[in-house]
């Protein structure tokens, strides 16, 4: 056992039974019951004088430490001395207890004789009390009261809204300079991000969309079979996938996959001062870091959606042919017949928007991440939650708009 604070005792006040090395090796597993319990006695041999007599084992392994409150009827004009001769072993546990006792004594303005403590204990305590507590530290923690919390929450919400608006504005400016051909990022970065958000994300997209198509077809099949209308499973799957599920599933998958990655990447870069470094070299971090990511998602999302649609329809085919005994030709014919240009255009349009939403959510949260590890985790969580929520809300808005404009 090693002491957290090495107890060195002056020879004239060596403690009885104290072994300098403490318990070693084999004693690590020794049951704590075998240690003499820590005890304290407040003795007043005469008025105006109190002796705090400690005994037993005062280490972190010992249990049942008494509360460091001196006798309540100890008057403020008495002097406290310490007697640690019966302490068999001690470490930080004793120091922590004594430190608290001294605070109590100070509060009640009771004098005490530090010199009656053994040298090692005294010096450690003096070290702990050497630097006074800072009282002018910045305000920390929030005032309670629900009204205050509601107000602060509203203020934070408003600030966040302004920040997001600012970020989207910056992105728009960067986009303008990109269109004008004054892009400031490296082409290799864009290609890398396109690969990450495209080809590498394809398998998971195909799998999920295939299963979604399969589930849709299965649920539809059970209902439609009752009316002898099994062939309409093809319509159901095709329209649902192309118009809604394909782009939504791709959006959600990309949000959890790529949006989270962007938030974590940019957040870590911020913690490492890499983003500050970009600023000092007059590189606009939005141009340099956000634009290639946003562009990659904007370009890849429609392609992923296209593949998701196909995989979903393939899932429908599997049910149609395997469970409903439809033929290839029937299913194909029905699907082509069901899909109009409007359905395809609606899904395609949404996929661009969802790509932007995922990129903005990921990059915004990454760029505004607090400078610590917990902040990066938080930024990633927020990026995914906000991204998925925004996708679903945007989809609802689209549904209403399409309905109004009879699209």
């Amino acid at each position: 056992m090693s002491h957290i604070v090495t107890g060195t005792f002056d020879s004239h006040c060596a403690l009885r039974g104290f072994t300098p090395g403490g318990n070693t090796g084999s004693d690590l597993d020794a049951p704590t019951e075998s240690l003499p319990p820590p005890r304290v006695d407040f003795q007043s041999p005469n008025a105006g004088r109190c002796v705090v007599r400690l005994s037993g084992d005062w280490t972190v392994k010992s249990t049942g430490r008494p509360h460091p409150a001196p006798d309540a009827n100890l008057s403020s004009n008495s002097t406290v001395a310490f007697d640690l001769n019966d302490v068999s072993d001690w470490d930080s546990a004793l120091l922590a207890w004594l430190l608290e006792l001294l605070i109590v004594l100070d509060q009640r303005s009771i004098r005490y004789q530090m010199e009656t403590l053994p040298g090692g204990v005294r010096r450690s305590l003096e070290l702990a009390r050497a630097v006074p507590e800072r009282t002018d530290t910045p305000p920390h923690g929030e005032t309670s009261g629900w009204l205050a919390r509601v107000g602060l929450g509203a203020q934070r919400g408003w600030t966040a809204t302004k920040h997001i608006a600012e970020f989207v504005g910056d992105c728009t400016l960067a986009m303008t300079s990109l269109v004008r051909g004054r892009a400031q990022f490296r082409r290799a970065d864009l290609l890398l991000f396109m690969q990450e958000a495209g080809a590498e994300a394809l398998p998971i997209n195909l799998l999920i969309s295939f299963l979604v198509g399969l589930i849709l077809a299965f649920v539809g099949a059970v209902q439609l079979q009752q009316f002898g209308a099994s062939i309409y499973v093809a319509n159901l799957v095709a329209i649902a996938m192309v118009r809604e599920m394909g782009c939504i599933m791709a959006g959600i998958i990309m949000c959890g996959r790529t949006g989270a990655a962007y938030a974590a990447q940019l957040g870590t870069m911020k913690v490492n001062q890499e983003i500050d470094a970009f600023r000092t070299f007059l590189f606009n971090p939005i141009d340099f870091l956000v634009m290639p990511r946003m562009l990659a998602l904007f370009l890849m999302m429609p392609i992923l959606t296209l593949f998701a649609n196909l995989a979903g329809i393939a899932g429908g085919v599997l049910i149609g042919i395997g469970m409903l005994d439809l033929t290839w030709l029937e299913y194909w014919h029905q699907t082509v017949h069901a899909l109009t240009f409007k359905h395809c255009a609606a899904g395609f349009m949404k996929s661009f928007v969802f790509g932007l939403i995922v990129a903005i959510s990921g990059c915004y949260n990454g760029m505004r991440c607090p400078n610590n590890a917990a902040g990066v985790g938080q930024a990633t969580t927020t990026a995914v939650v906000a991204g998925i929520t925004s996708i679903v809300i945007a989809d609802a808005v689209f549904a209403v708009l399409f309905n109004i404009f009879k699209f």
Binding site: P138, P139, Q184, R186, D189, T268, M269, N272, Q273, E274, D276, A277, F278, R279, T280, F281, L282, F283
Partner: protein
Amino acid sequence: MADQPHIELKNVDLAYGDFVVMRDVSARVARGQVFVIMGGSGCGKSTLLWNMIGLQTPAKGDILYDGKSFLQADDAERESMERKFGVLFQGGGLWSSMTLAENISLPLQEHTQLADDEIRRIVRLKLALVGLKGFEDFYPSEVSGGMMKRAGLARAMALDPEILFFDEPSAGLDPITSRRLDELILSLRDNLGTTVVMVTHELDSIFAVADQAIFLDNASRTVKATGNPRDLLRDTKDPAVREFLTRGGQKEPAKAI
């Protein structure tokens, strides 16, 4: 122009929101001087540096470069001022997705018209200057913390800046590398006339390189002393400054010099 300070801080207040970290910081730094910002941990040394390079904005006061206000400058003026800065971050601040060579060549590619092989030659030179010859193709994650810092210095010097800002350059470096860094700083000052602004609390380094220093005091949140650290050590009456410069009174003033 001769007595025009290269950098001038005029009654700058540093704050985070409503919380004022440091009040009324003023200093004049001549061209080609090494200016050290010293003080205990958490007293706002780095914050002052961030304010000087424009990553933060002071709550009050003004910062002037060559007599021109940095804070009131329009975007173009400000950009031309910032173009003359080179910054070494505390942890190096290297771009982790690029090799050391790419880290140094990127600013050169973006801000100069140099041909690729010229850029490569400059990158090799800068890495050699900080003792990292042969590490061109390593990623920051593949080298040690001290090497990252040195590579960060090479990057800060990439565009031959007029002012170099160092945030705790010798923290985490071994004594020998740390001394080499001091020598490098002095040679930059002497040979290229670079002005150096350095945040540090490394006493050896302060006495070795500083032409001028300010001491930020944590307790009073003001500048407690300004001047050459050797003179400060000899003349100061302020206990906080004396304690800092003598490592809490351990060193005899005479010996420290």
